[in-house]
Symmetry: C2
Subunit: 443 residues, 2 copies
C-alpha cells in the first residue's frame, strides 16, 4: 500500500546501498566510454515543449510530462516546457546549437534520468536512467563497431555473463523484401511481423503476414527462409541478387570482422530476423541479448537522417542505448553497506574535543570516521552503534586512557583491543589502513 510518504508513483528513492550500487555501475560505464574517446554531455531536465512534441509519434507525445507556464500565465493551464523524454532529441538540439564548437566526429555519451508518463509496472518506471552513446559525423563501419565494442566492455566489466550481439542491417531487410517480391506498400508491416519471430511460432507469423495482404505462399517462403536451420546461408545466398541486400551484407560483414578480432568467439552473429522496432534506422542494427532473459539489454544502430529530422544538422550517426534499469536488475546486490571504518565512542562529555580530534586523525589517514552523536553514555550502546555502522575499529577514550596518554583501539571483528599513543593515532591508522582490505572505503 503506498502511503502519503512514498515517492510519486513510478519513481524511486535511492537510499545509500542502492545509490552506491548504481553509482558504481555508472562510474564503470563512464570510464569505459572515456577510454573509447567518447565525451560526456549533460542537458537540462526540461526542454521547450515545441522541441519535444511531434518527435516521438502520437503514442510518445501522450507520455511527455508537460510543465505549466508560470506567473500570470499559470491560470491558462498551458504548458511551455516538458521533461526530457529521451537523450536523442537533446543531442539533435545540441548538434544544431554548438555545431563547430563540437569535435568532428562528435562522440558523446549521456547518462541521466528521463521521464515518461507510462503506466508504472514491474520494471517500468516514470523516472528512469537512460544511457546513450553515439557518434555523429562518420559513415564508417568502424564507428558502428566502436560503439558495439564499448558496449561489450561495459557489459563484461559489469560481470554480465552470457550475452550476445545480434547483428543485422536495414539494407539487408530491404534486400529481403525485394528478393521475396514483397510489394513496397506492405514492407513496413511485413517487417513488423517478422520482428515477432523471436516470440511467435512461425505459423502465427505466416498468418499475420497473410492478414496484412501478403500472398500466403510468399509469406511461408519468407518465414521458412528466416527460420530454417541454415537460415543465415539461405539468406546470404538469396541476397546476392539484390544490390541493396548485398551492400547491407557487406556492412554486416565489415562490422562482424572488426568485432571478431576483439570480442570472444561467437559473441556477435548475423541475425537476419532482427528488425528492431524504430523506423528511423538506416543501416546496421543490433541488440544485446542474454540467455534466459526476455527482450534485449542494449539496442542500437545507424540512423543517418534522424538528427536532421529532429531539427539538427544532416549528419550520419550511429549509436546505442543501454537498458540501464534492466542491466542493473541482473547485477548482484552490493555487499552490506558500511558507513564508517573508524567509530569514535565518547565516554565522558569532557573528552568530546579529544574524540572529535581522534575522528579527524582517522580521516587524515584516509579512513571514514565519525564520533558518536547520540545521548547514551554506555559503552555497550556505543559499540552497538559502531557495529551498525559497519565500522572496522572503535576508538575508546576514558579516564584511564586520559591518564596514560593512550587511546584504546578495538578491532570490531576480533574484539581485540590495543593501546595506541594518542599522539600517534593518525600514524597508527595510516599503517593499519595499508594492511587491511576495507569494504567501500572512501579512498
Amino acid at each position: 500500500m503506498p502511503t502519503q510518504f512514498d515517492p510519486p508513483s513510478g519513481t524511486r528513492d535511492f537510499l545509500a546501498r542502492e545509490y552506491e550500487t548504481r553509482e558504481r555501475a555508472f562510474a564503470h560505464i563512464r570510464s569505459v566510454f572515456a577510454r573509447y574517446g567518447f565525451e560526456p554531455l549533460a542537458t537540462p531536465a526540461f526542454e521547450r515543449l515545441d522541441v519535444l512534441m511531434g518527435k516521438y509519434g502520437e503514442e510518445g507525445d501522450k507520455l511527455i510530462f508537460k510543465i505549466l507556464r508560470r506567473g500570470e500565465h499559470e491560470e491558462t493551464g498551458e504548458a511551455d516546457l516538458a521533461l526530457r523524454y529521451d537523450m536523442t532529441v537533446p543531442l539533435a538540439r545540441v548538434a544544431a546549437n554548438y555545431g563547430s564548437q563540437l569535435p568532428s566526429p562528435y562522440k558523446r555519451y549521456a547518462i541521466g534520468p528521463v521521464w515518461r508518463a507510462d503506466r508504472p509496472g514491474r520494471g517500468r518506471f516514470r523516472e528512469f536512467t537512460q544511457c546513450d552513446l553515439d557518434t555523429l559525423g562518420s559513415t564508417s563501419p568502424l564507428a558502428d563497431a566502436e560503439v558495439m565494442s564499448a558496449v561489450h566492455d561495459v557489459l563484461s566489466g559489469l560481470g554480465i555473463g552470457e550475452f550476445r550481439f545480434l547483428l543485422n542491417s536495414r539494407r539487408v531487410l530491404a534486400g529481403l523484401l525485394e528478393v521475396f517480391g514483397v510489394p513496397d506498400t506492405l514492407g513496413p508491416g511485413v517487417l513488423a511481423s517478422l520482428d515477432k519471430l523471436d516470440k511467435l511460432a512461425p505459423g502465427d507469423v505466416i498468418s499475420e503476414l497473410a492478414g496484412r495482404g501478403l500472398e500466403e505462399a510468399k509469406a511461408g517462403e519468407l518465414v521458412s527462409a528466416m527460420t530454417a536451420g541454415d537460415a543465415v546461408e539461405r539468406i546470404r545466398d538469396a541476397l546476392k541478387s539484390s544490390e541493396e541486400g548485398s551492400a547491407g551484407l557487406d556492412e554486416v560483414d565489415a562490422i562482424g570482422s572488426l568485432l571478431a578480432n576483439e570480442l570472444p568467439a561467437g559473441r556477435a552473429g548475423f541475425t537476419p530476423r532482427l528488425v528492431r522496432g524504430l523506423g528511423y534506422y538506416t543501416g546496421a542494427i543490433w541488440e544485446v541479448v542474454v540467455a534466459g532473459v526476455p527482450g534485449s539489454l542494449v539496442g542500437g544502430g545507424r540512423y543517418d537522417h534522424l538528427i536532421e529530422t529532429l531539427g539538427g544538422p544532416d549528419v550520419p550517426a550511429t549509436g546505442g542505448s543501454l537498458g540501464i534499469e534492466r542491466i542493473l536488475a541482473l547485477l548482484a546486490n552490493a555487499d552490506r553497506h558500511t558507513r564508517l571504518d573508524v567509530a569514535v565512542t565518547i565516554m565522558d562529555e569532557r573528552y568530546a574535543t579529544r574524540g572529535f580530534s581522534f575522528a579527524a586523525a582517522a580521516r587524515h589517514a584516509g579512513l571514514r570516521s565519525s564520533i558518536y552523536l547520540g545521548s547514551s553514555a554506555k559503552l555497550g550502546r556505543q559499540l552497538k552503534w559502531a557495529s551498525d555502522q559497519g565500522a572496522r575499529w572503535a576508538v575508546i577514550y576514558g579516564a584511564a586512557e586520559d591518564e596514560a596518554g593512550t587511546v584504546t583501539v578495538r578491532d570490531m571483528t576480533s574484539g581485540e583491543q590495543s593501546a595506541v599513543p594518542a599522539a600517534d593515532l593518525a600514524g597508527h591508522f595510516a599503517r593499519v589502513r595499508a594492511e587491511t582490505p576495507l569494504p567501500g572505503s572512501a579512498g
Copy 2:
C-alpha cells in the same frame, strides 16, 4: 541572442569540459562527506504537488514548477506533480517514510538539480545543483561541528583560499532581544533589520528599526553594541543576564572549541550580527564567507522542529547547504579538455581491422584510444584530428609497417617517431603509460 536551439531560459547544456570540471568537484565533495560517515540519498526529480505546496511561503510557492496531469485529465489544466524545489522537503518525506530503516542518527548528503521558476539572471538559474548535508537525530554540538568541519574540508580541498566561518546562535539573538528589552512582537522584524548590518550603514539600520516601532534610543544602543570594535566582548557581557542568551553562547563556544582544534586558526569566529534569513533555525547558525566575494558560499544551522513541520517525524536536526554554483564560479577553469591519449590513424581501408585492434591494445593498457572515423586518407588531416583530440601519441600503420611487422608510434608533443613491434603494442603502451603524466586520463 538566444536561438531556437539554445537550452530553455535559465538552464544550461554542459559540454565535456564544463561537465568534467563540475564532476571533479562533485566527486571530491562526495568523498569528503563519505569520510565523515555521511551517506548519499537520491530522491525523484518531482514530488506530489501537495508535498511541496505551502512549505516555502507564498513567494516560494510561486516559484514551483508544476507538472500537468496526464491522460484524460490533461485538459483540466490541473497539476498533480511538481519539480523538486530544494533537498529539505524530500529529506523530511524520506525520514517519515523509511523511519526505522534509516540509521540513527541519519547523516545524509544529497547532490542534485533543483528547479525554481525564478527570473533568470547573472548566476541565477532555473535549474541548478544543490548540495546539502544534514544530521537528523542528534542534539549534540558535535553534530553541528562535524557538518562545519566537513564543509571546511570540502572548501579547502577545492582550493578556495581565504574563507571564514561566521558562527552565531538563534538563542544568542533571542537573548539579545531580551537583554535590550525588544518587545516580543517586534522580534522577528528587528532581527531582519539587524541581518542587514553587513550591507547597510549603522545609521540606516537604526532608522529602519525605528520605523519598525523600536524606540530610537534602544535601536541605537542595540546597533552600537553589535557594531562596536569590541562588539563580541560587549555582547558576551550583556548576555550574562539572560538564561537563553547564556545557553546560546555556551552552544557557540562548544562548537567553536571543537573546530579550533581542527581548523587553521581564525577560521571560525563568533559573529553576533549573523542572523540568517530563514525563520526555521532553532540553535547554532553559520555561514561561510570569502574576502572580496559578496554574500555567502555555504550556510547552515540547527533546525530542531523543521522536519516535523514539513511532514516528517519530530527529530532534532542540523545541516548545511553549499552554494555549488557560486563555489564552482570561484574555481579555476579546468585544463584544456583532452579526449584521447592515443589516436590511431588509418592509411588504407585494408588496414582498418588492424587499426581497430591497435586502439583496443592501447585501451587494454588503460589509455583512452580511438581509431580515425573520418573519410580523409591524408596523413596530415588525420594527424590534425589526433592533435585536436589532445592525443599524446598517434599510431601510423601503412604498407611499410605492414611489411616490417611494426607500428609507427608518433609522439605528438616532440614529433619523434619510433617503430614498435605490432605484437608488442599493448606492452609498449603499458610501459610508456607508467612513465608519462597524462591529463584527464580514464585511469
